[in-house]
Symmetry: C2
DNA sequence: GAGTGGTCTAGACCACTGT
DNA sequence: CAGTGGTCTAGACCACTCC
């Protein structure tokens, strides 16, 4: 507490938490705050930076410092997997109507812009281990971006890995121009005779890398959720590994675990 | 790229990613870096700060700047809920042996230090809504901290809310001195005739508040996972709402979703 | 053009760490 | 004690936003 910038940060933080400074409110100019606290401008800026790192403040160049508003959230539930499985064998027209993202967000197909990029890569050690194949095995790496037509930033950054030989039986699966595939991944896997038995999702969190912050248009003071989705076939094989980067402040992951009755 | 500190940060970041600077390596002194890049010390510090915010760097006062090492992870799977339910009606001695935390971490009861604090509170709006009770209803607020005996920082910060009247039938449930309750929450609820039907977990991520960083001993440049666990009874009522704060760099949440067979 | 935040300097002094 | 990072100043100039 002996430190000047911490004293300033504390005072402002308290004001924000107590609601004396509400969401969207503008703070006094930095020079003004410096006068009021009897400190230099850089010291005040240090305090503001701390608050920004905590996600409490939003800086707008040339405009001012504002109390951050909470962003609206997008949900992603694990019910989507059963939902997608149920649709995987449905008639084409029904599958084409909506995908799992529409299911989660409640948006229409027309509201969404979808982009896929395919690439053949040699399996890096970390992915090979999960897929249960030797390092260097040929994989199909698929990158997906989905965004609201009205917005600029995508919901998530998705990279999916499939074993090339496993899906090569259906050449249509190797061409990114067939995306978005009606019915999603499970429908794709079904086309080469694979039934997904269970999905495992591993979740951690960390600050975004600069490229991620850039592409997801994340303001400073936010985190990303890192989700690794592993799909198991009915024979126990791992058939898909997907890494998903989600904006932590806009995304709510929901997992429902049903329990056996007594 | 026109900006000096970004150029410096980029160069160091590239070196780290390429492995020219490996985990644990010490960087040259800040004054030395300033010379090398032909910039002032504060400018160099700005660059180092950016890298620290990304979780790439660890500053040690009086020692130096180091490339951050990855911390070992603790897992928390959603299988714990069924596991806990199975034990809820088991004989006392079996219940006393291990709890869900032991199940997740693979540690023994003796390795863990447990602390609980109970408090009666009036339901705040946000919690009341989830519990489906009027605002201001009397709740039992339970705060938990569990840590490794050998370590200082707890695994997580847990705050659980129960409706007072619902559990008052068993006065033992109102006394924190009865914690840790053998068999955990589901066993406690079972003692007042409640069977948990399903558990819903909502996950987001954000930077830690200073108090959280303090208590969990989080270094700068880390995020927290925010998990809200909602337990539903077989009659559809919400019987428990728990908020859990977990260190994002040390925790891996694992959710398994089984799918119905075709 | 007025007002805001963004970057940067050059140097001072303090606090911490390890020998 | 020497070397390191931590804090702070006073002021300069640039870049952006909005009127």
């Amino acid at each position: 507490m002996a430190v000047a910038y911490e004293r300033i940060a504390d005072e402002l933080r308290t004001a924000i938490r107590a609601g004396r400074l509400g969401p969207g409110d503008r703070l006094p100019a930095e020079t003004r705050l410096a006068e009021r606290f009897g400190r230099s401008v850089p010291t005040v800026r240090e305090a503001l930076r701390a608050l920004q790192d905590e996600g409490l403040l939003e800086k707008r160049h040339g405009v001012g410092n504002f109390v951050r508003r909470r962003r609206t959230r997008a949900r992603r539930t694990n019910l989507r997997h059963q939902w997608e499985k149920d649709r995987a064998r449905a008639p084409l027209e029904r599958r084409a109507q909506t995908g799992a993202t529409e299911h989660d967000t409640g948006l229409h197909v027309d509201d969404l812009v979808f982009r896929a990029r395919y690439r053949e890569v040699a399996a890096p050690a970390a992915v090979a281990e999960v897929l249960g194949v030797p390092e260097g095995t040929v994989l199909l790496e698929r990158s997906y971006r989905t965004r609201c037509a009205a917005e600029h930033a995508p919901f998530s950054l998705v990279t999916s890995y499939l074993v090339h030989d496993v899906i090569a039986g259906n050449p249509a699966l190797l061409d990114e121009r067939n995306e978005p595939w009606p019915g999603g991944s499970q429908s794709q896997l079904h086309s080469v005779g694979i039934e997904v038995d269970r999905v495992e999702e591993h979740v951690t969190a960390r600050p975004p890398a600069p490229e991620e912050a850039d592409e997801l248009e994340l303001p400073p003071g936010t985190s990303v959720l890192v989700l690794r989705k592993v799909s198991y076939a009915t024979d126990g094989r791992v058939v898909d590994v997907s890494d998903v980067i989600l904006p932590g402040d806009r995304t709510e992951l929901v997992f429902t675990t049903p329990l056996e009755r007594w």
